[in-house]
Each structure stands twice: as C-alpha cells, then as structure tokens.
C-alpha cells in the first residue's frame, strides 16, 4: 500500500506538472462535443435548387416562393427552360431541379393532376434522397395552400401525407441527442486510453521503467498505480461531458447516472488495460500512438456512433460483439436517452465485466520485470 501511494503521488505530481495534459483534459471534451455535434449531421441544408417554371402562372410563382423561403434550399434561379438547368446539374452546381409543366395552373383548375418532376443529383445517393424528400414535403405544403386559394375541393384527402414524418427528416435536435452520448463514449475512450498507453511507454523511453523494474515494486502495485490516475481522469472526463450535454445542449439526462458511472468504471478498466497492453508491445510513444489510433479507429467507426450498427453486414455486427466501444456507446444512449435500468443492461454489464477481467489478467501476465528476450 505504501508503495502504491508513493507511485500514485508521483503520477499525480507528473500530471499536475504537465500543463499540456491538463489543457487537453479540459478542452478536448468541450470542443469535441460542441464542434462534432454541430458538424456531424445528416440533415442537409443549403441544397442548391433551380426551379424550371414552364407555366409562368401565379400558382407556379407561389410554388417557387415556397422553396425560396425554405431553410433547406438555396433557390439559385427560376428559369423557363429545362436544358440549361440540367446542364447546371451536370456541372455539379445544383442538387435539385424542379420542373413545373406548362398549363400547371390550368390543369389544376380543370381538376386534372399535373405532373411536377423532381430531378435530383444522385451522385451522393443520401443527399439526393433527402433533397427529394424535403422538396416533396415543401411541395405538399404549398399545394395545400394552392388548393385553398384556387378553391379546389381536393385538399384534405390528397395532401394529408405531410403529417407523416419519419426519423430521417426530423429536426436537428433529434440527431444531436443521438450523437452526443455516443461522442461522449468515444471521447472518454480516446483521452484516457491514449494517455495511459503513452504514459507507460514514456517511462520506457526515458529509462525510468528500468528503475521501476529493479526496485522491489510488485507487478500489481505498478499496474494499479498506473491505472488509477487515468481511471479517475476517465470519470472526470465523463462528468465534464455530461455537464456540457446537460447545460450547453439542454438535453435532459433521463437515466440513472450512478448506473452510467458504474458501467463507465468497468469499461475504463478494460480500456486502460488495453492501453497497458499496447504500451507493452511498443518501444516508443510514436508506436504506441499508432497502435492505439489504429485499434480505436476501427472500434469507433464500427461502434455505431456515426452509422447505425443495424445497417452493417451481419459479419460486422457479429464482430461488434467484441467491440467494447459499441457496448459503451449503446449503454450511454440507453441510460441517458431511454432511462434504461440495470435489469435492461444486465447482459451488457456482464459482457463488459468479463472483457475487463480478461484484459486485466492479460496485462498483468504480459508485463514482465525481467526480459527474457532481447
């Protein structure tokens, strides 16, 4: 215990003295949560639009104005001929072209169904789909108004489609609530995992590891003293992140925070021992950095933070059963957004505890004070 305390005192002295790490710990969570949650967004805005108005009637003008008012679209121009508009699309200058046919108003008044066509640039399929859907919604709204103005009897029945929104088209807030808990998980993982791995390799680089190894410090004492500071840092990071989510983004945290901390505590043991294993396998900080980034990058990208796990091929979903970050992201979301209880998360807790035990055992086994080879 005395040795562990001595080691801990030294670790905290070093962390306290390293102003770079201190700034990193405070700034990274705030900046990442604020910037990434704004930048990573599947909602499309500022789509470039050309309306080809072949009708030139008050009705077609009203339709154009509706698009002009939309926050999703930038109405580049209203033309009266189709070919130059499509040429613009070829040149990547416009995402969507809406063609209002001649006799649009006349046909409406005559009770016929005029055909308005949407041409979307589908090079980016997701963007095209969104653009067409946004446009359809605006069009429905406008058509409703038009029908009233023209006193057409068809309003209610034909245009009630606009009331059905699917998740995709929901306002920004929905996406942020989804991404923030995920980002929080990634953040805690990267910061504490990387710091732990680099810290130990730094001892190797500076030669201080040799002093540790010739001293009577036991393996478990060294590992505990190395893990505990970063374990606390991880919990500090998640606290900071939760505060940002709650007070900056005003997202209510519905779940049991104690449960979240409990899971995070187990998860941190896993991540830190992985960091320890990485530092064991590397000689320099550069190697450790590369290994950590490589592994964590794969884990993060397949974890479901940015893309839904359900859309991955089944082999990737199976691999995800061994992806710690996927568990943590999932648990964060379920606790913070859904208010899941321990009963719901029992299997996740169990899996995480087994991973952590396995990794800790591996780390203790791999760490050797005497080198057998080279």
């Amino acid at each position: 215990m005395r040795i562990v305390l001595a080691l801990l005192k030294k670790e905290f002295l070093q962390i306290k003295r390293n102003t770079f790490i201190l700034r990193l710990l405070i700034l990274v969570p705030i900046l990442q949560l604020c910037i990434l949650s704004q930048a990573i967004n599947f909602e499309m805005k500022n789509l470039n639009l050309i309306v080809v108005d072949l009708d030139k009637s008050p009705s077609s003008e009203l339709l154009s104005k509706k698009f002009q008012a939309s926050r999703y679209f930038i109405l580049r121009e209203i033309t009266h001929s189709q070919t130059p508009a499509l040429q613009e699309m070829e040149d990547n200058k416009v995402d969507l072209v809406i063609v209002i046919p001649t006799h649009f108003e006349k046909e409406l008044r005559g009770g016929q169904s005029p055909v308005v066509s949407f041409v979307a640039d589908a090079v980016n399929g997701m963007k095209a789909g969104l653009a067409a859907n946004y446009a359809a919604n605006i069009f429905m709204e406008a058509a409703g108004e038009l029908a009233q103005q023209l006193r057409l009897p068809i309003t209610a029945k034909s245009f009630n489609i606009q009331t059905t929104y699917s998740m995709w088209y929901n306002p920004i807030l929905e996406y942020k609530t989804l991404i923030l808990p995920g980002l929080l998980a990634v953040l805690v993982t990267l910061v504490s995992g990387l710091l732990a791995a680099l810290n130990i390799v730094r001892e190797k680089e500076m030669g201080t590891m040799e002093q540790m190894n010739v001293s009577p410090i036991a393996k478990w004492q060294f590992i505990v003293a190395k893990l505990l500071p970063f374990w606390l840092i991880g919990l500090f990071e998640i606290t900071l992140g939760l505060l940002v989510i709650r007070w900056v983004f005003q997202i209510p945290l519905v779940g049991n925070l104690a449960l979240l901390y409990a899971f995070c505590g187990i998860y941190m043991v896993l991540i830190l021992t992985l960091g320890l294993l990485i530092s064991n396998a590397s000689r320099t900080q550069a190697q450790a950095m590369f290994l950590t980034v490589f592994f964590f990058m794969v884990f993060i990208l397949t974890s479901g933070v940015f893309t839904p796990v359900e859309s991955m091929p089944s082999w990737a979903q199976t691999l995800n059963k061994a992806n710690p970050i996927a568990y943590f992201v999932d648990v964060c979301r379920r606790i913070l957004l859904k208010g899941a209880t321990f009963e719901h998360l029992k299997t996740s807790f169990l899996s995480m505890a087994s991973f952590a035990t396995l990794s800790l055992g591996l780390a203790i086994w791999r760490y050797k004070k005497t080198h057998v080879d080279s």
Binding site: I3, L5, L7, T208, P216, H371
Partner: protein
C-alpha cells in the same frame, strides 16, 4: 558479494557475454573496463535482474538472479547507463519518491548520502531534467543510495560528464568503501581504472584479465616507448613495418610503441626512422599504463 560463473548471454547470433567468471569481494570497488559494445551493460542488466542469462549463474549477495530476483532488488542500487530519473520531478521529489518506494525515510544527514546531498542540495527544487550532466549523475547516485543498498551497480556513471565532475564523482565512490558498500562500476575511461581496487578488462563479451590495476600493469612484459615528432601520425605506418615492432598506437599527439625485442633501445628506433627520412623524432622509454595493457591483451 557478487559471484558470476560461466555466464553467457546472446542476442540472436550476437554473443554479448561469453563464459564470464567474476568474483567481487565485500566492500570492494570493482571496475569493469572495456570499450563500447564489450558487454558491460548486458552484465549490469543481468546483475540488476533486468535480463536473464542464456546460461551460467550469477549471484548477488548470495541470491541467484534467476530465482531470487526480489531479494536482490531490495539490496542493490542501480544506475543504468542512460539517465533514468523523472526529469519533470524536482531533485527532492525524485529522492523522496525512491525513498518511499523502498520504504525508507530520506535523511539528509545519513553518512551514506551526506556528502553527495551537500553538493546537490542547492538545486533541490530544480527539475531533474534541467540539471547539468554531472549534477544528474550525482542525483542518480543519491537516489541509488537512498535505501542503503549493500551492492551498488553503476553502469558508465561518468560517460559524458565533465572532468571536474568525474573527479568529484570518483571521490564519492572511494568514500563508499568505508560505508559497507560493494561497488561494481564500469567505465570506458582508462584513467578511472587506476581508482579501482580491482579491475576486469572485458572485450567482445570475454574477460581478458582480472587483477588490481598495479598487478595488471606489472604483467606488461614488453618494452614501451613514447614517440613524438611534429607529424606523429605520419610515423605510425613506418613504425608498424619496423621488424622489431609489436604494436604502435596513437595516444593523442604521441605514439606508444611496443617492441618485441627486449634488448632494443630508443637508438634503434631513431635510426630506423631516420633511414626512412623522418627527422627530429623524440623517443623515450615509458612505463606502461592500463590502456597499454588493455591494447596488448586485445591483440593477443
């Protein structure tokens, strides 16, 4: 205190230590002298329980390095070749940390570290990384002594240290003898060899000789001459071709010349050189130093 028998260690096909035998008596100041790459650091790593031998045994304090590493770790102080203290911690924090790890209190007045502490105390709040080379080594020695070890392993403690600090450092080592400490110190500097009670000359993983510095010098059985001219280096090749020459090496501005023939005198050398067209050459008989013995042993 330290017994090494048949000790070998190889790294792949490189034989770092080759069948080494070495006994170090209690309270001895024992020097391990050899060029870079001779295997000195490997020997230190094995004695400090950082590496295992490939074959043979090594005992420190009667404990085998392979089976009783923990017993050894409590009793040794080790200074690796590379400076290995926490550069971001202050002098005092480093010493206190090592004292805590070994479960002892840091006493400034303890006879073991009193002298060293006096020299580094003025810098006690300075980060270790910002000390001069000599001060760093004194701090490292202080940290290695803080838990009162009985065996001190110092791997090239004076490499890269200025001459004044080197001298001070060796004076400290001399005083440790009276404190019940057995010291094994390695150095590539031959002048430091004379300061040890007993030295082992090591090259390519093999021990060439073990004895007191005086006895090693006494074993030198050839005639040694110093040779110097305005262009000493131009004399090396002609002298190496001289039929009576055993070896000829440059020592700074002069040459050390060993002759096979015990009867040959400086006159023979001057005559030979003048025949070759080298004028104004000084030649005088010399007493051999450790370095001459080392070169002699390396050649045979």
């Amino acid at each position: 205190m330290v017994q090494i028998e048949n000790l070998s260690r190889h790294f792949g096909s490189v034989q770092a230590l080759d069948n080494v035998h070495l006994h170090i008596e209690k309270n001895q100041l024992f020097g391990l002298i050899g060029p870079d790459g001779a295997g000195k650091s490997t020997l230190f790593d094995i004695l400090a329980t950082l590496r295992l031998p490939s074959s043979g045994t090594a005992r420190v304090h009667g404990f085998d390095v392979q089976t009783k590493a923990n017993q050894i770790r409590k009793r040794i102080g080790f200074m690796p070749g590379q400076f290995s203290l926490y550069q971001d911690l202050s002098v005092l924090e480093n010493i206190r940390f090592f004292a805590n790890v070994y479960g002892v209190a840091f006493e400034e007045s303890s006879p073991l570290i009193r002298d060293i502490w006096q020299q580094i105390a003025p810098f006690k709040h300075r980060p270790a990384g910002k000390l001069s080379g000599g001060m760093k080594q004194k701090l490292a020695l202080c940290c290695a002594l803080v838990h009162k070890p009985t065996v001190l392993l110092l791997d090239e403690p004076t490499t890269g240290v200025d001459p004044v600090s080197r001298k001070e450092f060796w004076e400290m080592l001399q005083t440790l003898k009276s404190q019940n400490i057995t010291t094994l110190v390695s150095t590539p500097y031959m002048d430091e060899a004379n300061l040890c009670e007993c030295i082992a000359l090591i090259q390519n993983g093999k021990i060439l000789a073990i004895n007191s510095p005086a006895a090693i010098v006494a074993q030198f059985e050839f005639n040694l001459f110093g040779v110097q001219s305005a262009h000493s280096n131009a004399l090396i090749n002609p002298l190496r071709q001289f039929e009576k020459t055993q070896h000829c090496f440059a020592f700074g501005k002069m040459l050390h010349l060993t002759l096979k023939d015990a009867c040959a005198t400086e006159k023979d050398i001057v005559e030979f050189l003048e025949k070759q067209g080298h004028k104004n050459v000084d030649v005088w008989p010399m007493k051999p130093g450790i370095e001459d013995c080392f070169i002699e042993l390396m050649q045979s």
